[in-house]
């Protein structure tokens, strides 16, 4: 597995050094597209800080709003990442913090701090396909998957929201909660504009849409995104504000100590 990731990074480096598709080079392979898309979507910058508004909408159209600060830092070259989340709202949960160590090759490590009882608890869960903080996004949707977890195939190239897109079909190699996903990947910016997840019955069950794409600090970023569950009628809309890359987050920020005492400097 590790070797596979190293491998995929090698391909990535090669791609970055290569001229873009506009320069008359050969069409990129499906795996190339998938790799570049994952990199553009999940790994831009060394670190990142943003204020997030997460709106959960249930089938009756009622909303629950969560405000949080999200800090992310890439670790090493094997795809490890650490996330730090501070909840501002709802009011009664303000101060709750959450940390994820994404370990591409094994179970993630997660910790939560509950201020009212002053307790930090480690959460063990081997399911990266489970809901990310109760939203319609899964942990994997937020932190990405490995290119080799799926087989990729370019179906066609077509326009989406006025942008030229590769239409990529990806099929998980091991069992997953989806049987197949189809993504529309911007041929120049490499971010996905739409993703559709199909279950074993061939039914479309979840749809990701990019609501806004901006260039921030030289990185094309999907600053507004929605995941809709077509079965339950539930959806989650996430908006990133004040996003900054390469702010210089220290490694030790992502430790239990800071869960209890969130760094004022980064949390506003």
């Amino acid at each position: 597995m590790n070797r596979a990731i190293v491998c995929s990074f090698a391909i990535l480096m090669a791609l970055i050094c290569m001229p873009g598709p506009g320069a008359g080079a050969e069409e990129p392979s499906a795996t190339d597209v998938a790799t570049r898309s994952l990199e553009a979507f999940y790994y831009p910058g060394d670190d990142m800080r943003t204020r997030v508004t997460m709106v959960l909408v249930n089938a009756q159209g009622k909303k629950r709003v969560r405000e949080l600060t999200l800090l992310r830092k890439n670790f090493g070259t094997e795809g490890d990442q650490r996330y730090f989340i501070f909840f501002h709202a709802p009011a009664d949960v303000k101060g709750t913090t959450f940390m994820v160590w994404k370990n591409p090759a094994k179970e993630d490590d997660r910790w939560i701090f509950i201020p009212s009882v002053n307790l930090v608890r480690r959460i063990a869960a081997n399911d990266k396909r489970s809901s990310f903080v109760g939203s319609d996004f899964t942990y994997e949707d937020v932190s990405g998957r490995d290119v080799n977890d799926e087989n990729h195939q370019i179906l066609r190239t077509e326009e989406m929201n006025g942008r030229s897109c590769f239409v990529l079909e990806s099929t998980p190699r091991a069992g997953a909660d989806y049987a197949r996903r189809v993504s529309w990947i911007d041929t120049e910016r490499w971010v996905p504009l739409r993703e559709e997840y199909f279950d074993v019955r061939g039914e479309k069950v979840r749809v990701f849409t990019a609501g806004a794409v901006e260039e921030i600090g030289g990185h094309w970023t999907v600053s507004k995104r929605t995941m809709a569950n077509l079965q339950t009628g539930h959806s989650t809309e996430v908006t990133f504000e004040n996003m900054t890359y390469n702010v210089g987050l220290k490694d030790d920020l992502f430790t239990e100590r800071y869960l209890r005492q969130p760094p004022r400097k980064w949390i506003q």
Partner: protein
């Protein structure tokens, strides 16, 4: 030709038939409790659910059985129409365990265990989590349940069948499965209702045909009667389907009801014709005389029957209204068809053949006739004894009526031994209870449900509810908060409480929201935390059980009112069933009283005498009081079918009295004295009445063989009603008429000659 055309028009509506088995439709769409129920379902995202129970005599928690369960769930997740995200099972639902500062969030069964110890530890984990115990697995470890929410109710049949295919292929010896849940019950009921309708209607028809043939021995005359019956059924049902009304359990019985009733008038005409013909020996003249003496009673019996059924239209239950209205329409159709088709078909038979038949047919009539004549003399002689005996019986009946227990449970509409009854019993033995009721707490502002005081009150209500043995399990937001508290503190049971600090409570809920799927809390609380829903699972769905639970909770709430601004309301199907039943009891009582008054009024008009009107009401009163008294005495629940029968009784048991009194009176008017009149009515009229009673009693009996209990009940009860009615008419009326003959007759002397002044006959 016109008749055929009309029949064809009505018949052409049949393909548009629409079956309705949803018990909610027993209430008006805008009935307050139903509105609340719909709101509850929408607000808390409650889907229609099929519940699959799997049992293993040697225990489910063995690696081999669990592997089967895993494969079954996998199969179910592949069925179209299943809301896969919300399937609750060992392999799709999370459990949170805690140990030394670690919260371990995993599927209840992450992987099929390799040994027995591993399998049993799954069972222990379920038992340790109050949110899962008695829901996912039974206490004794011999059963597990899989909850399959479906997108739309009309897919329940297909999804149910596919589940059945998957499960039957997977299970080994000693293992069994049960399918429960409302969609399955409704669906099965719809299918069986159709079958019953298809089987019972022809069977009733056949029985009546046979009976008529035995009585009249002339197919050419019997067939038209049946045609009349069939046509009225087609008219009634055609109009029903054509107007877009749905076929409910009640309306599916329309054909079976209409057939015997429609035959009644024909039997009167035929009976009269047969009895007169040997004397007159001219079909036209016989027919003219028969119709003359029969026209008024026929019209009135039909109108009263129609009024009896029509009184059901006063009931507050839509399917009952539909039933009453269309049967009433069918009855009037039958009357119209009878007085046109039957005389016409008699005229079509050649005179010689009639003469031949009637000579053949004299024998059985003779026996019946002799029997009735001597019966008539007997009851007149012993009229005082009979009157006293009648009074005593009536008193017993009234006592019986006072002991009637009002109760219903739609699952009991399936006969004992039906697979759904077995599933119902087994599932309720193993798990928390399949009968759902909801207790909805509503606050004035968003967020109030997070108030510790409110959730503590919820926990208190649950404690009271659980005192009733019928309540198997309750679940609420309070349970979830308590469970989070426990898990967060390494499983320390001291933390299984509602925290007093609102922030702590809010953060517990947030932790639960964060560690599960977006919809996990939806069943218990709305997005704004303004409403919360307590799931009350009951092991029995009888209305009296629901009522008792409701009353004991109300008593508690009187003593301990809810926190300020919080209102508490019941909802859920078990509660809805109770509501429509209460409406039905009151509604039926009003309908029957209204019908009783209407029929009495009709009788007074018909006989132009309040006294005669009163006397003619006797058989009806006796029939109803005695039949319902019997229901009370044998302890049979007063349920929907029984309630509906009361109005039917109203319309039908008066028929005999009308014929009897009318003929008695016209004899007196023609100059006979009371004794002679009595002799007369015990000839042709009594024979016609006896034949009719026989037709109805026997005609309804095949329904006893039905697999759905409402059919059985109605069949048996109806036979009973008719028996009482005919006994009272023939046994009690002669005495009363004889005793009062002078009094009731005098006011009418202006119109007809006084028999005392006329010649003796």
């Amino acid at each position: 030709v016109l008749v055929l055309l009309v029949t064809a028009v009505f018949g052409s509506q049949f393909p548009r038939i629409h079956i309705d088995t949803d018990p909610e439709n027993m209430l008006e769409a805008d009935q307050p409790d139903r509105v609340v129920y719909n709101l509850t379902k929408r607000e808390f995202g409650i889907h229609d659910m099929i519940v699959l129970g799997i049992t293993d005599e040697e225990g489910v928690f063995r690696p081999e059985t669990l592997a089967r369960v895993e494969r079954i769930v996998e199969g179910i997740l592949r069925i179209r129409g299943v809301i896969t995200d919300d399937v609750i099972s060992l392999t799709t639902t999370d459990d949170v365990k805690s140990e030394a500062g670690l919260l371990d969030v995993r599927r209840i069964m992450e992987a099929v265990p390799t040994d027995d110890a591993g399998a049993l530890s799954i069972r222990d984990a379920i038992e340790a989590n109050p949110l899962l115990s008695e829901k996912i697995a039974s206490r004794d470890g011999k059963g597990i349940a899989i909850y399959v929410p479906i997108e739309r109710k009309d897919q329940a049949h297909r999804v149910g069948n596919e589940i059945e295919t998957i499960v039957s292929a997977e299970l080994a010896e000693g293992q069994a499965f049960h399918l429960a849940g409302l969609p399955v019950a409704e669906d099965t009921f719809g299918v069986e209702m159709f079958q019953q309708m298809g089987r019972m209607a022809p069977l009733t028809g056949l029985v009546i045909l046979l009976l008529l043939w035995v009585l009249f021995r002339r197919l050419a005359l019997v067939i038209p009667s049946m045609v009349v019956a069939m046509f009225s059924v087609v008219w009634g049902m055609g109009l029903l389907v054509g107007t877009g009304a749905t076929v409910h359990i009640m309306s599916s019985m329309i054909p079976v009801f209409l057939m015997p009733i429609a035959v009644l008038d024909s039997v009167h005409i035929l009976s009269e014709f047969y009895d007169r013909y040997p004397h007159i020996r001219d079909r036209r003249e016989t027919l003219r005389q028969s119709m003359e003496s029969l026209f008024t009673p026929l019209l009135y019996t039909s109108v009263t029957s129609a009024v009896g059924f029509g009184s059901l239209m006063l009931a507050p239950i839509p399917p009952v209204r539909v039933f009453g209205g269309f049967v009433a329409f069918g009855i009037m159709s039958a009357w119209l068809l009878t007085i046109t088709v039957i005389p016409a078909s008699i005229m079509l038979i050649r005179e010689e053949r009639l003469k031949a038949t009637l000579r053949d047919g004299e024998q059985p009539q003779g026996v019946l006739g002799r029997l009735l004549s001597s019966f008539g003399r007997g009851v007149l002689a012993r009229r005082r004894t009979i009157a006293v005996a009648g009074l005593v019986l009536l008193a017993v009946g009234v006592f019986g009526v006072s002991r009637i227990v009002v109760n219903d449970n739609p699952v009991n509409w399936f006969a004992e031994g039906h697979r759904l009854r077995i599933a119902d019993r087994e599932m309720n033995r193993l798990f928390g209870g399949t009968y759902m009721a909801y207790l909805v707490l509503e606050g004035e502002d968003a967020g109030v449900i997070k108030d510790p005081e409110v959730l503590s009150y919820v926990a208190e209500l649950q404690r009271i509810l659980k005192k009733d043995p019928v309540v198997g399990k309750t679940s609420s937001l309070a349970d979830i908060v308590a469970q989070v508290g426990t898990v967060l503190h390494d499983g320390d049971p001291a933390y299984r409480v509602i925290p007093a600090n609102p922030e702590e409570l809010g953060q517990y809920l947030f932790l639960f929201e964060m560690s599960g799927d977006p919809g996990d809390l939806d069943n218990f609380v709305d997005y704004d935390y303004r409403y919360t829903n307590v799931w009350v699972q009951m092991k029995r769905g009888d209305n009296k059980d629901m009522m008792r639970v409701e009353e004991s909770l109300a008593a508690f709430m009187d003593q301990h009112p809810p926190p300020d601004g919080i209102t508490v309301r019941w909802s859920g199907l078990t509660y809805i069933n109770k509501v429509w039943q209460e409406l039905m009891v009151v509604g039926m009582r009003n309908a029957i009283l209204g019908g009783f008054a209407a029929v009495f009024l009709l009788m007074v008009i018909l006989f132009r005498s309040p006294l005669l009107g009163l006397i003619s009401m006797l058989p009806l009163t006796f029939a109803i009081v005695l039949s319902y008294g019997l229901v009370g005495l044998v302890g049979k629940d007063y349920d929907m079918p029984i309630a509906v029968c009361s109005s039917l009784a109203l319309g039908l048991s008066i028929d005999f009295a009308i014929h009897f009194v009318q003929r008695f009176r016209s004899q007196l008017a023609a100059g006979a004295d009371a004794e002679a009149a009595n002799r007369y009515v015990f000839r042709e009229p009594a024979r016609a009445i006896a034949r009719n009673a026989l037709v109805i009693i026997v005609g309804f009996l095949p329904m006893v063989l039905a697999t759905l209990t409402p059919y059985k009940t109605v069949g048996a009860f109806f036979a009973l009603l008719m028996t009482f009615s005919v006994m009272t008419t023939l046994g009690l009326l002669p005495g009363f008429l004889y005793t009062t003959a002078g009094r009731f007759f005098r006011p009418a002397t202006g119109l007809v000659p006084d028999p005392r002044n006329g010649d003796n006959q």
